[in-house]
Symmetry: C2
Subunit: 392 residues, 2 copies
C-alpha cells in the first residue's frame, strides 16, 4: 500500500535550492566552479586540530562531549566578546548566542516571528539561504531598490511607510550575491529610518573580515542595537563544516529564539564550540583572517582583470572591496539560466542571478561569480570561456 500523507501547507513553499543542484553537477571532474559560495579548502587550519583537540580535552574534559546549554558554550561566548567588539558590536558573553551556522539563526527567526503573509523587506537580490529559511513560514517579500552603491535608503523609508513590515533582512558588507558594501553614510541614514519606524533589522554579516581593500565600516546594528539582530559566523574563516554561527539580539527576541532552538536541535555541538573557543583564545582567528585575505585577494584581482579583458560590450559587474562574489549584469535580452547550461557543457559553472530574487522574473540577465575556489590562472581561463560564450 502506498502511504498517502498530506504535507503541511508550508511545505509547498520549500523549493529545491538551485545552487545545491548546480553544485552536484560541479563536483564532476574537470568542471571549473565559479558557482559555490564556499571557502577554499586550502584555507582550513587542519594542522591546528591536533593541538586544539588536546587542549579541549585537557581543559573541558567530559563537558565537551555532554549535552550543553541551548544558549551556547560559555567559554566560546566569552571569546566572542572581543571578536564582536572588533566587528563594532558591544555585547556581554551572556548576550551572545551560539547557533548551528548562521542558517540556524535565520530559521529560528522565521519560526518565532513570521505569520503567514507577514511582509519581510529584503535587498533585491538577496541571499538564497535566507529565503530558504524564511519561506516555510509563508511570508510575503518586498524587495528594496538598489543602485550601484547597494540599498537605497529612501526606498527603504518608502517601503516602511507604506507597509507593515515584520523585519528587514540585510547583508550590508560584501553582500551575497552582489559583493556590494553599503557606505557609512547610507548606514547612518538606514539606522535613522529604522529607529524612526521602530522597525526590526536582521543584519547578516558573514563576510566582513574578508576585506581586500578600503576601511572597515561598522555594522548598521551598531547604530541601532535595540532594533537589531546581528548575525555572524565562523564558517567563512575557521571552517564551515563545524557549523558555528552566533548572534546578538534584543533580550525579548533572544529569549524566544532560545526557546525555539530547544525544539530545533537542543543546542549546537558542544565539542565544536569547545574547539572554536580554543581556536579563538589561541589567537588563530586573527592570523587566519590575514592568511585568507592573502589567499583570496589575488583571485579577486584575477577575476576583475579577466572580466575587463573578456566580457563583451553591454556587460557590467560589481567591484567589491572584499567577500567571495562578483555580480555580473548582461544585456536585458540575455537568459543566464539557459547560458549556464551551455557554460557547464563547456566546463564552467556559475549561478544564474535570478535565483537570488524574491520575486519571479527578475534578474534573468544577471549572474553570480565566486572567486574563492579556483586559482587565478583557472579563473582567467574560465572567464575567457564565459566571455566567448556571452559574445555569441
Amino acid at each position: 500500500m502506498n502511504l498517502n500523507i498530506e504535507l503541511a501547507s508550508r511545505t509547498n513553499n520549500m523549493g529545491e535550492n538551485i545552487i545545491r543542484e548546480i553544485l552536484k553537477v560541479v563536483s564532476r571532474p574537470g568542471m571549473i566552479s565559479l558557482a559555490g559560495g564556499i571557502p577554499s579548502p586550502e584555507s582550513f587550519p587542519i594542522e591546528l586540530f591536533e593541538n586544539l583537540q588536546k587542549s579541549v580535552i585537557s581543559k573541558y574534559k567530559s563537558e565537551a562531549f555532554q549535552y550543553g546549554p541551548t544558549e551556547g558554550f560559555l567559554p566560546l561566548r566569552e571569546e566572542l566578546v572581543s571578536i564582536l567588539a572588533n566587528e563594532g558590536i558591544e555585547a556581554t558573553a551572556k548576550q551572545i548566542m551560539i547557533t548551528s551556522g548562521s542558517q540556524g539563526t535565520l530559521d529560528a527567526i522565521g519560526k518565532i516571528l513570521i505569520n503567514k503573509g507577514d511582509i519581510i523587506a529584503v535587498e533585491s537580490p538577496t541571499y538564497l539561504g535566507a529565503l530558504s529559511a524564511f519561506n516555510p513560514y509563508e511570508p510575503a517579500y518586498i524587495g528594496i531598490k538598489s543602485d550601484e552603491e547597494g540599498l537605497i535608503p529612501k526606498d527603504l523609508d518608502k517601503v516602511l511607510s507604506e507597509n507593515s513590515v515584520k523585519f528587514i533582512y540585510l547583508i550590508p558588507t560584501f553582500q551575497n550575491p552582489t559583493g556590494k558594501t553599503l557606505s557609512k553614510s547610507r548606514r547612518e541614514e538606514i539606522a535613522k529610518i529604522i529607529i524612526k519606524h521602530n522597525a526590526l533589522l536582521i543584519e547578516d554579516n558573514p563576510y566582513s573580515s574578508l576585506r581586500y581593500k578600503g576601511e572597515n565600516i561598522k555594522p548598521i546594528a551598531s547604530l541601532c542595537p535595540e532594533n537589531s539582530v546581528y548575525i555572524s559566523t565562523l564558517s567563512k574563516i575557521f571552517a564551515p563544516g563545524l557549523r558555528i554561527g552566533y548572534y546578538v539580539a534584543p533580550e525579548k527576541i533572544r529569549y524566544w529564539l532560545t526557546l525555539a532552538k530547544q525544539g530545533i536541535d537542543l543546542h549546537t555541538s558542544s565539542y565544536n564550540q569547545a574547539l572554536a573557543a580554543e581556536y579563538i583564545s589561541g589567537g588563530y582567528l586573527q592570523a587566519q583572517i590575514e592568511k585568507n585575505v592573502e589567499l583570496y585577494k589575488p583571485k579577486q584581482i584575477a577575476m576583475l582583470n579577466a572580466l575587463q579583458a573578456y566580457m563583451p560590450k553591454g556587460f557590467t559587474w560589481s567591484k567589491p572591496d572584499g567577500g567571495m562574489f562578483i555580480w555580473v549584469e548582461g544585456p536585458k535580452n540575455y537568459n543566464m539560466k539557459e547560458l549556464n547550461i551551455l557554460a557547464m557543457e563547456q566546463g564552467v559553472a556559475f549561478v544564474p542571478g535570478e535565483v537570488f530574487f524574491s520575486q519571479k522574473d527578475e534578474g534573468k540577465n544577471t549572474l553570480r561569480l565566486n572567486f574563492t575556489m579556483a586559482s587565478p590562472e583557472v579563473i582567467d581561463l574560465a572567464i575567457k570561456k564565459l566571455g566567448e560564450l556571452f559574445d555569441k
Copy 2:
C-alpha cells in the same frame, strides 16, 4: 524607544522546557540529580578522540571541515547500514539521513507535516522534547491509553478509527519517561493496525542498545517500513555533545525532510560526522555499548532495590529491562511538582511526571527518575530521602 515586535502565533506554543529549568538548579554543588536524561560523563570515550581526529584528517582531509551534503556524510551513512540492520531496520546508505541529534529529525517532521490543528497521537506520557519540537507547528494531541505493558493496541485502533491522525509518535523500547517496552506481540498488533489505517508511524529509538536483561525486540518500523519514519541517535552511547542523529523514512518524506533541513541548518557538522564514521568503523560503538551496560545496570538495580526498600505504601513503579528511567506513581492525591520543590530543598531532584503529558492536569501524582548519573550508593541515599519525604 522600546522595540514592540509582534511574535508569530506559533510562538505562543513554545513553553519553557521545565526539565532544563530543573537542570539549572541541579547543577548546584551537593545536589543529587535524578532529574536529567543524560549519559554519565564516565561513559564518554574521551581517550579515543586523539586517534579518531588523526584518522579523520588522514582519511578525509579538508572534506571534514567543508560544507557538506544536507543528506549527511556518506562514509557515516555507510557505517550506519549494519548498525541499523542490527537494530532490525534494512536500509541502504543513501536511505539513511543524518540530522543534528534526533531532535533535528523531530523538528523537521513537524515542519513538513503539521498544519495547525492536525491531530498527533502520542503515548501518554511521552517524550517532552518531541512535544517541544511539534508544538510550534500548532498540532492537537490525542493521548493513547497505556497499561503496565505500555501502549494498548486496541486504543490505538479506536483513536485511528475515530480521528484523522497525521501521525503516531511512539518510543516503544525503554520509553522516556516510563522505561516501559512494548512486547513483540503488541508490536505486531500495532503494525497491523498502522497498515490497516495506512497511518504514519514516527518511531523514536534512542535507548534500545542499553538493555540490561531480556532479549532485543525489533522495532515496529521493521514490521511496517513503508508507513514508518525510524529515528535513532548516537547521543546515548557515543556522545550527545556531537549532536548526531539519523533516520530512515519513505522516499517522499525523506525528500521533504531534506529540503526542510536545508533551510534549518544546511547540514550537520561534517567534522563530527567524520569522527562518528571512524568511531563506528573502528569497532568502538559495540565495545562501548557493552561498557555502558556494565556501567548502568548496577545503578538501575540499586534504584529498583531502594524503591522496594523505601517507598511508602500506595507507590508503584516500572521495572524496565533497560534505558535510563524508572517511572513512579504515587497515590492520586500527591502533587509531585510541589514535592519536587521540597525534595530539591533536601538536595534531591527528580522530574514531576505531569510535564510528560500532552494534556493538562494529568499525571500530577507521577515522577520520572533517572539512574545513569549518580553512583549506586548515592542513588540509595537519594531514594531513601524521597521515601521519607513521600511518607509524610
